[in-house]
Symmetry: C2
């Protein structure tokens, strides 16, 4: 297997943290988006969408989409479990992973893409939409703070893929002008705990 | 089990088509968003996010997020299979389901929410962002047309949850000013086939 990786990328980070939690090392190749390496004919033959990360299997099969990659690895090596053990826990983990993506990660990505100078000239930026999304991201953090008042992790008592998603989203917000607001003690406690894991800087 | 449903909703439709494909009937209760029934204190106690669909289990456990609901049912009743049978097929189905969501469904939803008069006064609308998203949705259809040139369904030879996602997205586009453009023969062939399934109007 080979992982096409991007050190600073939020989605590649999700997969790296996941693999570190599983104790799996996968050979990787850095693809520098700043230099357009994800838009070369060679890379587009591997992934026509040009997105990262990409997992290439030994037979040449290509998997994209962070959670699809992680779920594949989970099936090959079920422990330590990060996707849930029985149908109900699996559904709850999927629900919370998707809530973290839709409610938290998406507006944090959007405020980054529409407000940050990094994206100027790389895509059309709509500042008023970006401001809306930043407010939406803060509302999502307030909601998660209420949820985390009653349990240690997003999907229940233990760390799962849903926490990895939320953790990578919060890190993006922290680095792009949308940090956790003061006063959200439960979310802050969760963030301190997930950030202290040995895998957090994978 | 009870399904909180919304007849006209794209996500509730995903779950209804899925359940029809599985041959499962679940008692349902209509929640009328137009009347704000998803924002009553009673409903927000069930799902604080106010989204639909929601699956309530007999013990009161609540599942939200369409794909989490479907995956839970898939674990209880694996056949007919709609999520993949082995780790690699499961990963490929997840990859294509997510690509359908991210590349196709999301811009189609966004152009609807930011351009359509239905949403006026219900949320802030940014027309220039909406126009960008409509163009993005058309590019996604052109890309899917190229993909479907070489296989019958999104994730391979057979109909899966990835096709249900794309089908519900395309139907939304059709009803909101972003239909499949002329000339995309492969995507049109796929659309004609999925629309002709007995479950398409579930």
């Amino acid at each position: 297997m080979k992982l096409y990786d991007l050190k600073a990328g939020m989605n590649p980070r999700r997969v790296r943290i996941y693999l570190a939690e599983k104790g799996i090392e996968v050979p990787s190749e850095a693809v520098d988006m700043m230099k357009g390496e994800n838009r070369t004919p060679e890379f587009l033959r591997i992934n026509p969408l040009g997105t990262l990360p990409v997992l290439e299997l030994d037979d040449g099969t290509v998997l994209t989409e962070s959670v699809a990659i992680c779920r594949y690895v989970e099936a090959l090596k079920p422990e330590p479990n990060l996707f849930g053990r029985d149908p109900l826990e699996q559904a709850r983990v999927e629900m919370w992973n998707r809530r973290a993506e839709i409610e938290l990660m998406r507006p944090l990505v959007e405020q980054f893409r529409h407000l940050n100078s990094f994206w100027k000239g790389r895509q059309a930026q709509h500042a008023d939409y970006g401001e809306d999304q930043r407010r939406q991201a803060i509302r999502a953090m307030e909601w998660l703070d209420r949820e985390l008042a009653s349990r240690p992790c997003l999907a229940g008592d233990r760390y799962t893929i849903a926490d990895i998603t939320a953790q990578c989203a919060i890190l993006l917000g922290k680095n792009t002008g949308a940090p956790i607001p003061d006063g959200l003690a439960h979310l802050k406690r969760w963030w301190d705990q997930v950030s202290a894991r040995p895998t957090a800087r994978a």
